[in-house]
Amino acid sequence: MTTTATLDRSVNGDTGSRRFSILAGRDINRETYVEEWAEAGLTVADSPYDPQPSLRIVDGQVMEMDGKERADFDALDRFIADHALDLPVAEEAMATPSHQIARMLVDINVPQPTIRRLADGCTPAKLCEIVRHMNVLEMMMGLGKMRVRKTPANQAHVTNWRENPALLAADAAEAALRGFAEIETTVRVARAAPLNALAILVGSQTSRGGVLTQCAVEEAFGLRLGIKGLTSYAETLSVYGSERSFVDGDDTPWSKAFLASAYASRGIKVRFTSGTGSEALMGYAEQCSMLYLEARCLLITKGAGSQGVQNGSISCIALPEALPGGVRGVLAENLLASMLGLECASGNDALASHSALRKTAKLMLQMIPGTDFICSGYSAIPKQDNMFGGGNFDAEDFDDWTVIQRDMQVNGGIRPVKEADAVAARRQAAQALQAIYAELDFPPIGDEEVEAAALAHSSEDMPERDMVADLAAADRFLEGTANLSDVVRALHRSGFEQAAANLLEMGRQRVAGDYLQPSAIFADGFNVISAINDNNDYTGPGTGYRLEGETWDALQRIPQQKSPRDFIDAQVGEPLPNLAEISTAKVGASAKEIVVAVGPAYGTSLVKTIGELDHEEVLEALLTGVAEEEFYGRVVRVYHSADCAAIGHAGARLSGSGIAVGLQSRGTTVIQKRGLAPLNNLELFPQSPSLTLEIYQAIGRNAARYAKGLSPLPVGVKVDNGARLRLIVKTALLHRREIDDIQEKAPQELYFRWEPDV
């Protein structure tokens, strides 16, 4: 076989390599990876066809932008030029070198407003040029500073395949309890929307007042739900970065801006949707990079007066992730949104990868700096119930998320909850919805359905409902006159007074309209926080948002956390009655003796090893092994150290044969020979949880064989990779307990009342 042939075969993956075959089967290799192809729009941040930054203003009107004359502007250029750019600043902004603005983004001495002022005067191409100078770490620094709201938050998705209302209410209640500031639902069948919106509204308000909710459906239908008081925000107002894509989306910047005003006129918070990859997916990327098209989207969003955007590729995420630099590009678009003063719900919603490692790595880019909403939809339900197409993070990942927050002291917007609290919130929400269904004459929700919803994980755990009847009720509800106050009354009559008060409060807050301001959410107690009263004032260490105080206490207190004080209860007990101290140990004279040197707490303060073997039985096993070789064992206690090597070293000095077994109370063992350096040894058994009595016996045997001058086969111990991971806290505490018994005292001869059975 020639070298060339070998190379070809390895490229084709059929060399027969076991390593590469295992790699090929990994989750990461279930994804698609492609090379860039600018002509098809398959390039993330830098297409050779991307326009170069330019701006010419004549008499207060943009006459040229990014290399295009006004006469050649398409509808999007017109909208950006006439609505998005801050013209008095633009000249200065465009004249400031892009790398200088990029450096300002990472310079803690430059506060947010200084950069925002310049960003407001930048064209799409200029914005791209700025972020192209930055690596992901620098972008994260910039994002942490430019994020609009000081306090980061998160949004949940709550849906289910069966459109079961009790389960929707229960899942919304749990999501609210977990601290999500917004909850979004959608439908499998469009007509279900009014009752789905009602279910998550009631569910969330039963659990925690002030959660904003929405139902993602077709634009006009969504507006009707909002008008009826069933939703408090809308974010599926999609915009696109090329004219053809925009029109294929059946809108223009003007119709979208009108829709935004229409929502606001009914007191509904609005967030637009954009994100890299959508134009390429729709076939009209116009050879531009995804980032350039996204910069146009963001300026349209800003120009339309939307307070924010959900971007970060959203449902197209797999497309940028198929390309080089895709995840960096997504971070860049989050950063651009924040630079422009837009609330950013930063993606991390749709399934982006099969690989848990890759998903988490990507998440860190938004979670560590913090964004207004880390996820523009964390799937607070199992994947099969996610009607948005499957979440990148699901209900099964709740504990992973809360542990990562605790690890990094970072607020990712999800609180750990106790099982009993979650079930109680779920049950109450389902009961509240049951009462509303009864009062408003909807198809009844049975008691068994309520109980199933309280305890369910997915819609598979729910009894069947008559979906046709539910849909008919949804139609009647939408067309009828019943409104929010009817729901409030129904709740109150049924004894759900707090839920009734919370629901009414949502209506009262709508009258005030404070949550229409940039990046507004309700903190606990219906306290609105937004860019106006919670603006991000980060200027370096010690400033901006800090996870501390009560919030840090709440986030670190995960239910899995235990008190370390009772961790070693299993190892504590009555001191061994048959182990008595006689006198100070002397150097032995017999060449047939093996010293077993134990730690200060052995058989007294501690009576079992970390593997929960009785200290008595461990001693018996060791001495039996010694006896099998027709040697005899002496037991001594080392007082001056709890260290295994030191114990073994002291034992060897006392041993007539020069060989000793050192034994810590937690079970860690060494075979030591007089004359060897303390940290050298004949055999060391550091994996104490894996040691069995048979192994201890074999250790005794080998000790005697060394004493005979033989070279025995070392005792084999299976490596348990997880042992240290599982037991490290216990190891530390057992060692600490042993150290407590250290005394400045010479080793003592012990009498162990026991006869070997050999």
Binding site: W254, S255, F258, A264, G341, R508, V511, D514
Partner: protein, 151 residues
Amino acid sequence: MTDERSEERGNTSQSSNGGYPLYANRNDTLAAASGRPLRDLSLQKTLSEDISSEDYSISAETLRAQAEIARGAGYPQLAQNLERASELTAVPNDTLLEMYEMLRPGRCSFEEYEALAQRLRAEFNAAATAAFVEEAANVYRERGLLRRELE
């Protein structure tokens, strides 16, 4: 509308947020679109009186106040959006949906947009929204986004 922005931002960095949040600071004077004072939108009243959707709808006046807050904090486009919204509070729900539909691409002729703008001014006193519609109509005409009569 762009000329004012930079100055606005400059003189608002030290402002007192324009009374924001209104819920906390203007609780006595806030009223719903129906005119019902916010203090009368209590649980007690909800249980004993007829409450319409208008009673928990935002008023034009409150939207204008929120627009001022947004402008003062350096968000002029949001302010303009909220000002258009304040005009649209006068438009009935169904009409609002119809107007949105008309603004979607390929739906109307130039003359229909002119008529829409006129109606917004005459019937709803919505000058800013009317100007916005006229602007859209001009761009639609240039970019081929008017209704195509050939079909």
